[in-house]
């Protein structure tokens, strides 16, 4: 139950993109077409979950007992980037060159996304148990996936509308993101405590 509670809290109440405002640059740049956003969202979900799950034992079993908390960001970035590139290389080992290049480009974008660092950092700051940490990691990834897909869908609709010239491009994307932040703020609290 703690796992499910943490998962839904991280995905909706404390959404990593539109409530905590982490990783928003990638979302705004890459959520152009809904089809691309699903692929990117899934990659981000996997990377966030893996970085959170791997980051918990690194902090609580290695860094904290030895008083090396200040090394946490470096350790998280190194481990998560290594995992992301390793998985990408293994998954595309027998694929054509073009597909491997595309996968490596996606791995670079995912490794540079702030979500992969924010998830283990927030787990470390919260001082949670492992099941809660796993739930938070998976939930944060799910929240990022939902945020990316929803934003791409809304943006696709905006592309079909008449937007004033002064707002075209990044300004309207930021206004859209602002309204989506308000929407997530409105549903916060609806799912917390559901599985207690």
């Amino acid at each position: 139950m703690e796992f499910l509670n943490a998962l839904f809290t991280a995905a909706f109440d404390n959404n990593i993109v539109f409530v905590q405002m982490v990783g928003m640059v990638s979302v705004i740049v890459l959520a152009l077409r809904p089809q691309d956003s699903v692929r990117f969202g899934l990659a981000l979900w996997a990377a966030s979950a893996v970085s959170g799950i791997v980051g918990w034992p690194i902090y609580y079993l290695l860094l904290q007992p030895w008083g090396l908390d200040y090394l946490a960001p470096m350790a998280y970035l190194l481990v998560s980037a290594t995992c992301v590139f390793l998985v990408g290389a293994v998954a595309t080992a027998r694929k054509p060159l073009e597909e491997r290049r595309g996968a490596m480009a996606m791995c670079t974008i995912v490794a540079l996304n702030a979500c992969t660092l924010a998830v283990p950092l927030s787990n470390a700051a919260a001082g949670c148990e492992f099941p809660v940490g796993v739930g938070t990691a998976v939930g944060a990834g799910l929240g990022a996936f939902i945020a990316v897909v929803l934003f791409a869908g809304v943006r696709n609709r905006i592309n079909e509308s008449q937007v004033p010239a002064v707002l075209r491009g990044l300004p309207i994307s930021l206004v859209t993101a602002s309204i989506m932040c308000l929407a997530f703020f409105g549903v916060s609290g609806a799912l917390s405590g559901l599985f207690v």
């Binding site: 409530v19 982490v22 640059v25 992969t116 700051a125 943006r155 707002l167 309207i172 206004v175 308000l182």
Partner: protein, 216 residues
């Protein structure tokens, strides 16, 4: 189904049009610190750390490229970026522990953004007449600092009615206090983006001819 080459080319063109503008540099530099730019001091602190990190990584990435290959480049660059931001974090803690506590996990997150900004400065955009990665990075750093400081100042005024430590009047209970939330910070950044875009035609390269309707 394989991605149609025309769709891929069109997507790439849209991305280049989005990334190759000063507005993107301003927005991308300021976005990660937006959540904690709740008052002038915090906005300036996170802006300063972002600026230092961007310039430091613009200087260090060419050195890192010299002794890494394509698979180790990103992890090494990320660790170096995290180290630079760690030093900045200590500096902020020494300057004001309360602000360091308030900035929380958003300080280390500047590490990833600094690297992203360096790659953007290197690959897609160079400010005329400098036309170098370092000059573009310095421009991005200054813009990020200015944008975050402005957003922090505006948030402080609109959410708590405070300006330079003085409380003008209590507006925290009024609807305008939403500007203290992330949604309002994004609206303020959109205002900054509108301002930067309006300058683009005059000071920087002319934007693409506007199409009829739509986002482009």
């Amino acid at each position: 189904m394989a991605l149609n080459s025309y769709i891929a080319a069109e997507r790439q063109k849209r991305l280049e049009a989005l990334l190759g503008t000063p507005t993107f540099l301003v927005v991308a530099g300021a976005l990660p610190g937006l959540a904690v730019a709740n008052n002038l001091e915090q906005g300036f602190a996170i802006g300063a750390v972002t600026a230092v990190a961007i310039v430091a990584m613009a200087l260090l990435v060419p050195v890192i490229n010299g002794f890494t290959n394509w698979i180790t480049r990103i992890p090494v660059a990320l660790v170096v970026s995290a180290a630079v931001v760690g030093v900045c974090q200590v500096a902020v803690y020494v300057a004001d522990p309360a602000i360091s506590e308030a900035l929380g996990m958003y300080l280390p997150l500047v590490a990833t953004n600094a690297l992203v900004m360096t790659f953007v400065a290197k690959s897609t955009f160079a400010v005329s007449p400098a036309k170098s990665t370092l000059a573009t990075a310095v421009f991005a750093a200054v813009c990020a600092l200015a944008a975050l400081t402005f957003v922090g100042l505006a948030n402080g005024i609109l959410s708590a009615g405070e300006i330079f430590g003085l409380t003008a009047y209590e507006i925290a209970e009024t609807p305008i206090a939403v500007f203290g939330k992330p949604a309002g910070s994004l609206l303020l950044l959109a205002l900054v983006a509108v301002f930067t875009q309006s300058l683009e035609g005059g000071l920087f390269k002319a934007p693409e001819a506007a199409s009829d309707g739509g986002e482009e």
